[in-house]
Symmetry: C2
Subunit: 204 residues, 2 copies
């Protein structure tokens, strides 16, 4: 069960680490963080460095592909070597998934044409520009492609995927292992629900 | 606003990255991932490497300290240099926090004696052995010490903390930015709620 997570400068690390903490528990999981070249990758905020263990060129297939987002994803929608790699690996996967603006990379690679898909709420129009039908659902499955909404939604996506791959008891066990019994102190987690004060703070 | 996150081999990365994605948005945030020595730190599952930018010896103070957990935290409850560093930094903080079994390190450092506190559900007895009163609440504040339950609870903890530090509008904005509108597909995120099948899967 090879799980491949491409990383790049400017990623949002929770997009990758949320699903990782669940998918690493799949039976026989072998998780590879890959980048254009092995070595350090700096996140979008600039404080956290992850290490890519493999180069994209070394990874020709995956059982599960998880494409994270972040400002670095938005900057890479014309990165043909990356998009070509995504297309080639996608041709081999059982599940191709994205979190947040990772779906823009799937879209730019031509994988979402005519499909319902989601992304970070701020990227809906860009996603549509790739021929996808944007929806604000949190986890959207279309055949073997699963897209998730912004950042934290990758946790819900990975639990959904875990049930598909390993069954309900396993997926529930993974939820218990990470004690995912969310109790957000506010109800401001979607654009539809957020207060005007929260939107004003972000300038959106 | 200096946020210090100690990391170590065997940590659970979501314990650190969940709060990080919120606290990095605090006004003026400067986040430092620190370890015994600068350089690579491998997570508990062995697939992900984070980089410490500073050595503990270089960090004498913090506004916010976030101590993550993981199997590596359990192994370090007798690591006197680490515990001494936690005590010294705690003496300078506005907020000292933990996620998951990070609270065992706060307990072993003597910071939780006589306080209500939480941890991963599987570590309740160990937490009690440090003189803390374990509770299965998700986020527990006692003065300027805030402990969170297992792994994913650090997100809820950091949102609570963000309100205390930067106010309600900011905290709600951070929740919107990471689109934290959790919709877990199962209701298996706490020991009390999990099915017997999930517990059997984990052997607990």
């Amino acid at each position: 069960m090879r799980v491949v997570i491409p990383i790049f400068d400017g990623l949002t690390p929770l997009d990758a680490v949320g699903p990782y903490e669940i998918l690493r528990m799949l039976p026989g999981a072998d998780v590879v963080f890959a980048a254009a070249a092995p070595g350090p990758v700096r996140d979008g905020a600039g404080f956290l460095t992850l290490t890519a263990q493999a180069a994209f060129g070394e990874i020709g297939s995956a059982d599960i592909l998880v494409v994270p987002g972040g400002p670095g994803a938005r900057r890479r929608v014309s990165d043909e070597p990356l998009l070509g790699w995504i297309r080639r690996v996608h041709a081999t996967t059982t599940w191709t998934t994205s979190v947040c603006t990772g779906s823009l990379l799937l879209g730019a690679a031509g994988l979402l044409t005519g499909l319902r898909a989601t992304s970070h709420w701020s990227a809906a129009d860009i996603l549509r520009s790739y021929g996808a039908e944007y929806t604000d659902e949190r986890v959207v499955r279309q055949g073997r492609i699963v897209t998730a909404a912004g950042v934290s939604s990758g946790i819900d996506m990975a639990l959904t995927l875990a049930e598909l791959v390993a069954g309900r008891a396993a997926a529930e066990a993974f939820q218990l292992a990470i004690e995912y019994d969310p109790q957000p102190p506010f109800d401001s987690g979607s654009y539809a629900k957020a207060s005007q004060a929260a939107k004003d703070y972000l300038g959106v």
